[in-house]
Amino acid sequence: MSVAIVVVSHSEPLARAAVALAGEMLQGGEVRVEVAAGLDNGSGGFEVGTDAMRIKEAIEACVDADGVLVLVDLGSAVMSAEMALDFLDDPTLRERVTISPAPLVEGLVVATVAAAGGATLAEVAAEALDATAAKAAHLADPPEMQTDPSSPVEPSSPVEPSSSVELVETPPAMSGRFTVRNPHGLHARPAARLVQEVRRLAADVELVNLTTGAGPEPGSSMIRVAVLGAAQGHEVEVRARTQEAVDAVVALAERGFDESFETPHEPAADQEPATSAGGPRGASPGVVLGPARRLVSAPLEVSEAGGTPEEESGRLDVALAAARGEVEATHRALRQTPEAEIFEAHLALLDDDSLLGRARALVAEGRSAAAAWTDAVAEVHDEWAALDDPYLRERAADVDAVGEQVLRSITGVAPAAMPAAGVLLADDLTPAEAAALDLDLVQGVVLAAGSPTSHAAILARARDVPLVVGAGDLARTAPDGATVALDGSTGEVHVDPSDEVRRDFERRAEAEREQRRTALDAAQRPAATTDGVTVVVGANLGSVADAELARASGADKAGLVRTELLFLGRDDAPGEDEQATTYAAVAAALDRRVTLRTLDVGGDKPLPYVAAPAEDNPFLGVRGVRLSLRHPDLLRTQLAAMARVADDADVEVMVPMVAVPAEMDAVRALLPEGSSLRLGMMVEVPSAALKLPALAAHVDFVSIGTNDLTQYAVAAERGNPGVAELGDPLDPGVLQLVERVVAAGLPTGVCGEAAADPAGVPLLLGLGVRELSVAPPAVPRVKALVRTLDTASCAALAREALTLPDAAAVRRLVAGS
């Protein structure tokens, strides 16, 4: 049986007449159409109105159909139809019912025809929604034609978001052309840049691929742009209402969509991508011998069962926000590397009108968030996978990756993880999986599929994990635990190698380790600039393991020891003994000076044993020293533990979020009697940076937390992708704050991301900073960088940077120096 239709109208004569009109189109076909219109007046007649119970009965009369499309007229018809779904005796029937926002008469006519032709429910629904397209096209010109605003206006029918980008409206008046220069065509990254520009222009831009005839497609959706299949050399027409918009897009295309065409770290870039034929290939250098391991993950199950559309819509939004946060974090970690572009494309997908519109429309139809998202992703995947361009086909994996990440967030299923240390064998890795690999456990990776240009390969190189791709069955059949030998430079892989091969690999691995040792040895020595100025490069730590890694990496000190880990995730505060033991262990593991930071939490991370009122703005609320001073016993205990460790180790203490001298005095008053602990402050509050001379007498040293200082100075929340571009610590305003802090003459360190940023280091040195503290693995790299710089050039660079308008200009200045 085909799809059935239920007509809901306030007026029973209107519904009957519409059904008769639609029946004339059928020409012999048969479609079940039920009417639930008007209000039974109890004496055989009808009054104007709608009745949810009658709609329910009409839907249930169609129980045998392949699906039920409910067409509704105005206002209460929509609510009564929604209510009828709540009343259905068999709740599973609900999954086969779609309430359509299509106009009643036109929608009924085309839906009847489509249903008679055997179309699916989704197809019938789509047809109905497009029912006014013919009228719209006919009436489209001239644009001046408008309805008189003073007369009652019929509301335009609500249009499903996904179709709003597909409807071809008035052809825009202006046009221009460009030839695609980008080697991989208008793929994810340039497409994302294009969409960004089109949105910035707030113009209706359409694109046609003149070479293939594909399009027109809206320039505001990355997914639709990808469907153009515009490869290098293709000619593309740009259409827009204004010449300005056309010119802007053409100019962007001529700049190659701001993509750098060099593809560093891509040894196999000249090979045909997207293929695993031709045997295993090296994709990230390194030699490893280890037991075979596979990722263990809970299966992802997509349940159709869900709450109300409002609840499901909320779940979808929360999951999207969570996925955005994760992708943004990865993107930040890879900032300044070409790999970051992968995640820019992912962020664009997570914000794509076409993808989100489809998912939201399905949720509005009553599907669960998980089911709606899965279907929307599958649709886009299929569209991309059907494209001719192999590179774009491969990018369908991006869609899947983003799709799975969001789905995991909706369903709360944790991503796959390594069960134990060894060599990871897998069919392929999503970028999210590759980015989440636990480097403590993953010694190397062998993929059955994949290519050296895949995101997983790019990430493996960025994270220094040896990788072989295209290993085929070898990766699938090797038993768990079998010894795997791999060389990520040559692509060799052996399962259960012979003694001879094993010895050969052990030799190569040893040679490699030797090389790394040499690099680490250099890191163990102090770093000085070419003009002989020593720069202390410390590490930021949170645990004893960090301290061990920092020592191995050559950290000169611990510029920041976070103590939060000790306090989070427990029901009562750690006592003085426990704290002292932990701090002493960190100091002993590093065996160099450590700067312990007192507890730095706020309303965003409430502790069960610290009463704190809920705050609308926890980052501007009671956090850091403000919170510590409200709980003096907690702070007194922490300071006592720190003072105890200072008896045997080189320890100093710094206090977060200080805004006024009184806070430092209050902290000092809580030190144990007679303690001579060095007490410093973190500079994160912009006003504190500006009035440091007034604070100087109250502190022994300062450490600039550039991450928080930046977010407060530029008013851009960290972790909010919408303002990520603003939150760059190299903003000249932030650099001016750093300059003011240094000018106060106290010993000054920097312990934010800027200290490890290749563009940030020369500027900080130029501003007079002589102490940096970075993540432990970054210590060798930062020391190597320091050794290439001279302070006079850095100072000149910094002076110029201070005069620039924004961080992007500063980065261009440093890149060009």
Partner: protein, 214 residues
Amino acid sequence: MTDALSLEQLRAWVDGFAASVKEHREELTELDSAIGDADHGSNMDRGLRAVGEALEAKPPADAAALFTTVGMTLVSKVGGASGPLFGTFFMRVGQALKGVDAVDVAALTAALEAGTEGVVARGKAEAGDKTMYDALAPAVAALREAGAASPGEALAAAASAARAGAEATVPLQARKGRASYLGERSIGHQDPGATSVALLLEAAAAAGGGARAT
């Protein structure tokens, strides 16, 4: 003994609401003719008459059954948007009172909150959209604030809040329902749905007035 409303009082509330709507039928219809389709008064009256018949035919055993019957009947008999909206409201109130022995101020507050949430979910209205929600929301807030007061006092506070809320819809521009099609011309008229809510709470205050229990 806590201050609680008896089943008789709750029934008197519903009957009082029906009588009040009947009495104000022309006024409600007039309000609706200014910004809607001139059927609110007659629709609500028709629905509430049917409610009276249904309650006579099968007297409810408890508060939950009472309000569920009211809701189900309104859904089928009112016809306009008020059917699903008031219907949802009463059905949610009924659900919230399931298994509740003493309908005291706390239970009443929770039930009206649930009903209001149902209205918002069904109609997707927000404060200031010029809808019944603009009278319901302040009424529920007043109930919540009344806290320890007797049901009579609490409902009296809720009723005057609902009335003030309804009157405050006069300068608003409708953003939901048929009235929204009128755009700015909906300004200057009191919303009929919000007015009915005021009648509902006033009926509640009258019925609950004698609730100060032993």
